[in-house]
């Protein structure tokens, strides 16, 4: 009944497949580091920002309370940030990184990163540094917004929002920012 029998690739095509696969593997191993991952760089920035921002003591429950970062909807970055947090400190406090579920309350956080496509909820001003990555206009409520400019990660700062929240930013951070927005315009 089975007139076809087990079918094999024609020899020519088999070589073709083999070559393509070898090429895949070859390229995989020969590739050197050609550039960094955007999410790695952003995670490193987030950690670095903390050194140039002052949080009031009232933002922490106790002297031993950890510095808490929350990540909303940016899975790769969350992974990177957890790696960075290991063994490092912010203002002499250990770092805790939390993955936030959408809609989860941000109480207890000191830094919030909202990934692309995640909307910010309006919140009363409090010492929480809010960082976003939106290509268009700086979103309402955002204090630092990452932008990709010529394959470099740059950021804008909304200084009035930062100050209203009760945070203080060092002039070094402002000097590196691409744009600084103040109340009433850039």
């Amino acid at each position: 009944m089975n007139a076809t029998g087990p079918r094999r690739l024609r020899p020519g095509r088999r070589t073709w497949l083999g070559l393509l696969m070898q090429a895949c593997i070859g390229i995989a191993w020969s590739q050197e580091d050609a550039g960094a991952d955007e999410q790695h760089v952003k995670a490193a920035f987030l950690y670095r920002f903390t050194g140039y921002v002052d949080w009031p003591d009232s933002a922490f429950a106790s002297a031993e309370a950890p510095f808490t970062m929350g990540v909303l909807g940016a899975d790769p970055l969350y992974g990177e940030l957890t790696q960075i947090a290991i063994g490092r400190k912010v203002h002499e406090r250990s770092i805790m990184v939390r993955k936030l579920a959408p809609g989860e309350a941000t109480g207890g956080l000191h830094l919030l990163f909202a990934g692309r496509g995640v909307g910010l909820r309006p919140e009363p001003p409090r010492p929480l540094l809010i960082v976003t990555e939106v290509d268009g206009e700086m979103p309402r409520g955002s204090m630092i917004n990452f932008r990709l400019v010529d394959r470099h990660v740059r950021f804008d700062i909304a200084l009035d929002v930062v100050e209203t929240a009760g945070l203080r930013m060092s002039s070094r951070l402002l000097a590196v920012a691409r744009k600084i927005y103040r109340a009433g315009g850039a």
Partner: protein
Amino acid sequence: MRRAVARLPPTTQAALLAVMLSLAPPAGAAAGSGDLAELSLEQLSDIEVSSVSRRDQKLSEVATSLYVITGDAIRRAGARTLPEALRLAPNLQVARVDANQYAISARGFNNAIGNKLLVMIDGRTVYAPYFSGVQWDQQSVMLDDIDRIEVISGPGASVWGTNAVNGVINILTKASGQTQSWLARAGGGNTDSLAALRVGAQAPLGGSVRAYVQAQRQRHTRSEAGATVADGSHREQFGWRADWLDAGDGFTLQGDAYRGDADDRIGAGTNLGGIRTSGENLLARWTGTGAGGSKLRVQGYYNHERREDRLIYSPNDTVFDLEFQHTVSLGAHQLDWGGGWRHAKDDIRPGLLFAFVPQRSSQNWRNLFAQDDVRLSEQLTLVAGVKLEHNGYTGWETLPSLRLAWTTAPEHLLWASISRAVRAPARLDRDLRLPPMPPYLIAGGPNFMAEVARVLELGYRAQPTPSLNFSATLFDYDWSRLRSGQRPPNAQVQNMIEGETRGAEFWAHWQALEGVQLSAGGTLLHQNLRVQLGSTDPTGPSALGNDPSSQWQLRASLQLSHRQTLDIGWRREGALPNPRVPAYNALDLSYAWQIGCGLELSLIGQNLTDRRHPELNAAPTRSELRRSVFVQLRWSS
């Protein structure tokens, strides 16, 4: 024996396995985040990063021949049915059989019982399991609620499973939170008319809900000989969708119900009645993000379809489907894995021509899949995947694929893939009988096996400037064990056609000016299929489909003023060889005017340069599709 045939040759299989197992991230492929954290702000600012983030899945970096029809494009083109909306995809062949029936395929094998395309509406597979094809007259969606239609030409089997041999159509509606306004649409013309209403509301616990109802009528067509074809029809459908979503995560519950009826057919002195259809479905889906950014999606649905056709056969089938998918990122790897189970129960009453023996059946399918998306370097991504799917006829089928994507420059992607795809046997291949009572002239083959395709693809997709993007794909299929017949009487369905199909697909969009968007697309197809030695198949490959060797389309979307738009579409469909259908050109115009207060008036003309033309089947009884003019009023709050 059969199982051995279903496998890849050992050398290929071993090589695939080797590739999948050995893909640990190359040492030092990217600087670790730990090291970067030691850099200063200025140093960080100086680092050049990959301009494309793999996980965003921007269209420009998808390593497959994917065309997206947006909801807006459907509306601007003035499409009124789902198959007509699918004509917007240059990588699909859409042939209208009569007022209600369509044959839709990608990369050939198109006919009204086409079976190599997987079609889903919001994750619900809509092909009829008894013939692994789609009854297009039973599929409808409120077109205003469509977010987008993703049309993948080419195999998607390693993720989507058997039947995703030549393509996958994924119809996605908007979440109900995005359709909270009221919408009413009514229109009529010389070939069809419609009325639709949709309402949106808040649901308890922070959710949202919408409901719609729509009614459509199609006027009968005429055959090439000038006779009235009994295909005038009406169809009513209602449905709803409720979502409790936050940033895409959460719970969705949705359902639809419909019924349709076509004109009575008089044949051989008896009234055969019309083709009467009805059905209902219910789907629940939950998506959540876990610790470490892993994503879990769990979905279940119920789909019930009835079709009364006293000439052919009358199926009544129910499908229960459960599936889950888990996505987790591990360094340079993104791993997707999941599984599913499907149960189908049917009762297919014999028609005048055909019967299914046994008349009733109950079938189960189960599957497991895993796909590893490895970022080898900033420019190179490899996707290795395999799906194992079990069916009651041929046991486990193995569906592997390997894709390599190379970002040659920002927004330029060169990709290649190798896959094996399978069209698993359906009831039609095994259980069909002609005539319905013995002695049979033709019968399903008790040994009918899966049809197999080995596919190579090479593609290039680019967006050289923000206003221009294009995609080109070459494909090469090596087919074996395609369905064949035997010389009647006592003919059985066999797997004795083989061959190759090759071709190209391309399209481009250009935003020429603000308010002027131009697009062009086309496909080329070369088929070389043959009946194997020892087969007595009297029909040959023409029973598998009737395909044009080329098709082309051009579209212009013009914003005439801030209240007026004009869309001009032209397409040329090449001639079909067997039975011969002449090539045709069709010019479509769609003009819309925003009157104000949410009211829009549109005027839609189709096939304007052509009084009438057939798109499939043999003269002189085939239906001809005539020029149509349609006026429509649409209101949204």
